[in-house]
Amino acid sequence: MITLENISKTYGKGPQAVHALKPTDLHVAQGEIYGVIGLSGAGKSTLIRCVNLLERPTTGRIFVDGQELTSLGRQELNQARHRIGMIFQHFNLLASRTVFDNVALPLELMGVAKREIRERVQPLLDLTGLSDKHAKYPAELSGGQKQRVAIARALASRPKVLLCDEATSALDPQTTQSILELLKDINRKLGLTILLITHEMEVVKSICHKVGLISGGKLVEEAEVGDFFTSPSTRLGREFLNAFLELDPPQALIDRMEARPGPHTHPVVRLAFTGDAVSTPLISRLARECNVDVSILEAKVESIQERTLGLMIAELIGPQEKTQQALAYLKSHDLQVEVLGHVQRNA
């Protein structure tokens, strides 16, 4: 539905040039919710703004619904933009228009007749839960309600694609969830393809099917969301995941941790369980079969879409050959083991 081919964006020329986006390919399938995640300044905003050519890419081609946007003239591009909805971090509603008139705006721009506008706006207000707010002005609405208006407005022209530029970044966590639910709902009901950019893992976890990780203007990792949350393949991906899961050993332990094992140390490990491993009582078996003590420092279970992810930070306590054996045991049981460091016994 959306294909970016070798897209890049450079601002300025010569030695002062800023490469906001390095040559990047991206494909979003029909009906998919694709999330691009990255830190601020990573180029994700440039990327999404290139899709509807709010930003002209320096190189590359863009296809939306089979049409090459980069080859279109001004007028044709405006026509094509009617089929691409977009919502923004700061909503960008017209303060001078009521909720109803804001949602009607794209239809007015398309030259839709007044009567038809009325018929088309009302169902959108129902869909976004704004029926009772149609005569209000944006200043009278909360942030979440404003974004609902923006979503209704973006859907008014019956687009095939919805672009979400940090759509929940200005909202509190609860409102974020309700907006995400709405987007998910729209995706299911209307079969709308959604490309979103965000810096929040929560957004990716809640609604995305696929995720792309962007850093330094490059797409460094791309995966199904379930895979990304269980086994990110890049260091940045792991950092994002760990920051999101907030699963790090206690600071006091980190301070004592050494990189290499010594004669009297035992390992601190981070374990990630997926699939069958989640429901298997591995730790008690480990203790029994390898004869080591396991001290659990932190643990949590996350459900990511239909998959369950168990996470744990633990010390394996025992003689070195036993702990080595325990590590081998864990690795053989379909779970990811990362040795974070080693701490002195009885320290």
């Binding site: 909805g85 977009m86 923004f88 700061h90 960008n92 721009l109």
Partner: protein, 217 residues
């Protein structure tokens, strides 16, 4: 005070309102589009035309930098060409309008500059043409600011119109100078000033009320 004097004052008041009204309307009709043009032709704007923008900006600045009293006498031939005379109320309208156009244009440009760029971007993402962006986004969103600008213009025109009295323009300024100053009639002078004060207050209150109605921020 004689009834003749009262009639004179009434006529002068109507003359002033007439001058301010006509020059204000014409200046708005020409100044608002000029202000829009100044804004949309800026670099990186929806109709970016840097050369035109610089040229328009220069003309506007020249217009604004000429003191009104000098503008008035400097364009007498032009005024005569337009209204057939260089004295009288109609003759005063020409320089008043000419002075007000760049004034309005800069205020409108400033009001448009207050519209969040995100709104223009949103409209672009909906496939709006530049003309649609101007008429459906920029002007409605800047309505409050534009009305504020026009109010300031009206108030400025009231004081300029009094200056026009100095060269035989008619109106309250003319009356104040001829009767109040030249004939040492402090009562006429005071009445003139009082009427001007009320007029300015009136314009300001009207403008404020319109802004309140236009603004939903």
């Amino acid at each position: 005070m004689s009834s003749a004097m009262l009639e004179l004052i009434l006529m002068a008041t109507l003359d002033t309102l007439y001058m301010v009204g006509v020059s204000g309307l014409v200046a708005a009709a020409l100044g608002v589009p000029l202000g829009v043009l100044l804004y949309v032709t800026r670099p990186r704007q929806i109709l970016a035309m840097p050369t035109l923008n610089t040229a328009l900006g220069m003309i506007t600045n020249i217009g604004r930098s000429i003191p009104f009293i000098i503008l008035m006498v400097a364009i007498i031939p032009f005024t005569r060409f337009i209204v057939g005379s260089s004295i009288g109320t109609n003759a005063a309208i020409v320089p008043l309008t000419l002075a007000a156009i760049p004034f309005v244009a800069r205020l409108v440009e400033g009001a448009l500059n207050e519209v969040p760029p995100g709104l223009v971007e949103a409209a672009q993402s909906m496939g709006a043409t530049p003309y649609q962006i101007i008429t459906k986004v920029l002007l409605p969103e800047a309505r409050g600011g534009i009305i504020t600008g026009l109010t300031i213009t009206a108030v400025t025109l009231v004081s300029y119109s009094a200056m026009a009295g100095a060269v035989g323009g008619g109106g309250l300024g003319d009356l104040g100078i001829r009767y109040g100053y030249n004939r040492f009639n402090p009562v006429v002078m005071l009445i003139t000033v009082a009427i001007l004060v009320v007029m300015v207050q009136g314009f300001q209150s009207l403008g404020d009320a319109l802004v309140r109605k236009a603004d939903h921020k």
